[in-house]
């Protein structure tokens, strides 16, 4: 039996997941908790957010994130690619910067627009 705190919403339910009973979840208060408990035990995922070097915008960094949650084990692999990335304005919100980043199935997208009028 594994104890988890559900991170789906701010309530933070204390879940118990039984790995010997097909990951049966108890302690949840909604259906999303059951799904989270199962996923967290079998294939945990996280959305990764960071910044990349930005040129020609008058700002130093462009914020980025993965378009969906990626396997937790791939978080640092994603970050290594992000760290080496350099982009130039103009950039639009939602623009795909790296498709299928680290083979995760998620794209790396910009989360802010920059017009490119900066120095």
């Amino acid at each position: 039996m594994k104890e988890l705190i559900c991170i789906v919403c701010p309530r933070g339910c204390h879940l118990k997941v039984d790995e010997n009973d097909d990951y049966k979840v108890t302690g949840h208060r909604c259906a999303r908790g059951v799904l989270y408990g199962y996923q967290e035990m079998t294939a945990p995922t996280r959305v990764v957010t960071s910044t990349v070097v930005l040129e020609n915008a008058g700002e130093e960094r462009c914020p980025v994130r993965t378009s969906q949650a990626v396997p937790k084990a791939k978080m640092f692999e994603v970050i290594d690619i992000v760290r080496k990335l350099k982009i130039s304005a103009p950039v639009s919100l939602g623009q795909v910067l790296v498709p299928d980043i680290a083979g995760s199935g998620a794209d790396l997208i910009a989360t802010r627009s920059f017009s490119g009028t900066g120095n």
Binding site: P10, R29, R65
Partner: protein, 424 residues
């Protein structure tokens, strides 16, 4: 000098100011200016690059800049004037504003209505009185967030975080992903200050120890911080002798709370609430100074920007109503709200019980974590409403809504009191 005239001046261009200006415009106000001291709109959202914003408001999980950009578009799509790099120096009770900016120098603005949306500031080292030397490398979590996320700087390599507020937790994850070593998150209280989900995804994911009932007793280092001394505390939060240990580090981040920024409110003679550190407001978010409204973190500290947007839209509508009548929207019996047992405060703090009041939203925080609770609303010793909660915690703002039929039961002249009780 010519005094410029506006119907509505919004002080602050963060999430609160933008939502307030947009809603006032949509209610018909056409002479609006937002005064923002930064170079851009968006406020603190610009540096909050993590996701988790907008779940309530947009039914999507957005990062801070994405959330801000939606509102910036809303502002730009309307004929709302925005003045950037414009710092308000003074506001008086006649709603005359002193403004300074690099492009226009010193200016005077007279407003028929003002919305205060200045947000909050972080409590710093001086606010918690940590002993020791005063080296470089001791900074607030939000300052570190700005250096890392906006300026692309590295704040240090070996980090200790004092306080378990959400910004500190978010920075623990951010710095870990950037390759720094976060040695511990130290919290003086027996339970964490931030959301449970952040304890999991920001600390546990990166194996960062959370030391509850512990504090930093000494900061060591001459030019740059070299170590902190961490000790366990007793029930009175006094360090327990013999439990102290030294942890070498080059950076100490403080995440020990936010304080509403009310210097201008004070200058205008707005009455403040010493529990929230924000203005005392009526049900329409008007302060004690007629025509001056408040919303967002300047009013009380919120956990979620979604709630800031909703509250600020209400302030915008109230300011528009005030402007259309050109009179105080108040009227009716004055009723004081009382935060009884189990509650730290309520917003609003008082209301004008008008016959046309359709509903009343009351926001509050509880004093302690508890399961299976009921919130009892009383007027003149009689219970008029009851709300149930499975779980309450000081870190999570609560809201109840009293419908018209409950408002009709409020006794004129009596206090409206709220308290928390175990639901058996």
């Amino acid at each position: 000098m010519k005094t410029q005239q506006y119907d509505l001046v919004v002080i602050g261009g963060g999430p609160a100011g933008m939502a307030a200006a947009v809603s006032a415009y949509d209610q018909g106000v056409r002479s609006i200016v937002i005064l923002e001291r930064d170079k851009q709109l968006g406020g603190i959202l610009n540096q909050c690059i993590h996701n988790g914003f907008g779940l309530h408001h947009f039914k999507e999980e957005l990062s801070g800049p994405e959330y801000a950009e939606r509102y910036i578009k809303d502002v730009r799509a309307r004929d709302i004037e925005v003045r950037l790099e414009s710092m308000v120096l003074d506001l008086n009770s006649e709603r005359i504003i002193q403004l300074v900016s690099p492009s226009h120098g010193f200016e005077l603005i007279e407003a028929k209505a003002v919305i205060l949306a200045m947000g909050s500031r972080e409590r710093a080292r001086g606010g918690i009185g940590t002993p020791g030397t005063r080296p470089a490398g001791v900074l607030t979590a939000g300052a570190a967030q700005r250096y890392v996320n906006l300026e692309g700087q590295r704040v240090g390599e070996n980090i200790v975080i004092l306080g378990s507020g959400d910004i500190g937790l978010i920075m623990a994850r951010r710095l870990s992903l950037e390759g720094c070593k976060v040695h511990a998150c130290v919290e003086i209280m027996s339970e964490p200050g931030g959301l449970a989900r952040n304890i999991v995804q920001c600390l546990q994911d990166f194996d960062i120890p959370l030391l509850l009932s512990h504090t930093v007793t000494r900061i060591e280092g001459k030019k740059r911080i070299e170590a902190v001394h961490i000790a366990k505390v007793d029930m009175q939060m006094r360090p327990i002798p013999g439990t102290e240990r030294r942890v070498a580090c080059d950076t100490l981040l403080l995440s020990v709370g936010l304080i509403p920024e009310n210097e201008l409110s004070r200058a205008a003679g707005v009455e403040l609430d010493n529990r929230t550190k924000g203005p005392q407001v009526f049900e329409n978010l008007q302060t004690s100074v007629p025509g001056v409204f408040a919303c967002g973190n300047v009013l009380h500290i919120h956990d979620l920007v979604d709630h800031v947007s909703d509250e600020s839209a209400r302030a915008g509508r109230a300011a528009a109503a005030y402007l259309s009548k050109q009179t105080d929207t108040a009227g009716g019996d004055l009723i004081a709200l009382e935060a009884g047992r189990g509650l730290r405060y309520t917003v609003p703090q008082r209301l004008h019980l008008r016959p046309d009041l359709e509903k009343l939203d009351i926001f509050f925080r509880v004093t302690h974590t508890a399961e299976e609770q009921k919130i009892i609303v009383e007027s003149g010793g009689k219970q008029i409403a009851l709300f149930r909660r499975v779980h309450v915690a000081p870190g999570e703002m609560e809201k109840i809504t009293l419908p018209a039929k409950v408002l009709a039961e409020i006794q004129p002249g009596a206090k409206l009191s709220l308290r928390l009780e175990a639901a058996l």
